[in-house]
Symmetry: C2
Subunit: 165 residues, 2 copies
Amino acid sequence: MTVEPKKYAEGSFTDDYLLFLLAQASAVASEAFHAELRNSGLRVSTWRILASLYPEEVLTVGALAQTCLLKQPTLTRALDRMERDGLLKRVHSTKDRRSVFVKLTPQGHELTQEKVHMAKSHERRILSGFTKPQAAEIKNVLHSLLDRLGHRKKLTEKRAETDPL
Amino acid sequence: MTVEPKKYAEGSFTDDYLLFLLAQASAVASEAFHAELRNSGLRVSTWRILASLYPEEVLTVGALAQTCLLKQPTLTRALDRMERDGLLKRVHSTKDRRSVFVKLTPQGHELTQEKVHMAKSHERRILSGFTKPQAAEIKNVLHSLLDRLGHRKKLTEKRAETDPL
DNA sequence: CGCGAAAATATTACTTTGAATATATTCCAA
DNA sequence: TTGGAATATATTCAAAGTAATATTTTCGCG
């Protein structure tokens, strides 16, 4: 990325502290889209669950909790609501009967598709402030952070292979 | 940053969606440090407030809510607790009597100093997985995102200049 | 001026979250 | 093979968050 390095010699310690920069960038970037979601009657957590299962993922509750950044008890209750509303269904694993797989229903898929369009549109809007290579670099940086922090590995292991019919 | 571009052609839509990458990077990067904080008896929100005021910032409640990513009512209650515990104090602005400035007490400053050391140590640990230029590039990307999204501007306007003695 | 709209913070009432725990199942070592 | 540790999910309940609203003060305009 070839943007001039800025020195925020401002005041607070937080002005150049990695965890704050990440949290703030995430919050500020998401703000507008999250407002759209709520206006259309969806909570952020519901959206994250739907999006993580889109288009055809089948994940255990635990794996889903990780991608969605939700604690397991929070997720379980969200799943209750969404299952009741016909957006997804739970399938008990036959191999390990402790595990529960989650997948979208056709109805859930349809709703998600619509929101994914909104999400992509919003993403384009944000990245439109950057050149193509800059935009690529932003995602690149985030991908490598996640890799180094050993995030993705754990998750892909949990993706259902063939179990749930 | 010169890390090879990885294609997560995995499965889910979210695997290359900016807002998810940001939220996940933030969560995963913070995980360990936030656990440290809780073990030492501090909530994340309390830490954010302390850190935002360190070393000698004087911010209004509203400005503080923004940097800390807290809703104003949430912050007000946290400030009640922290003021009660002697970590900070509120000073009513004389220019605009609606505004309330917040600043650390010496005791709050001392506690924060200690935690800031932990935070910096943790940050080094995370960035140690990268070369110097890569690490710089990570922060660079986040700074430019925040700039383009028009974050910092609003905040610096709210920093107290000379009002609270 | 004076009054209605806007702004900053506090308060209230309700909802959501999550740490701790329970339950069910699987894994593993003796 | 069996009993204890580990794992996956569900449940519970106290704590934290927040939308809506109240309160106080300032601003802008006729």
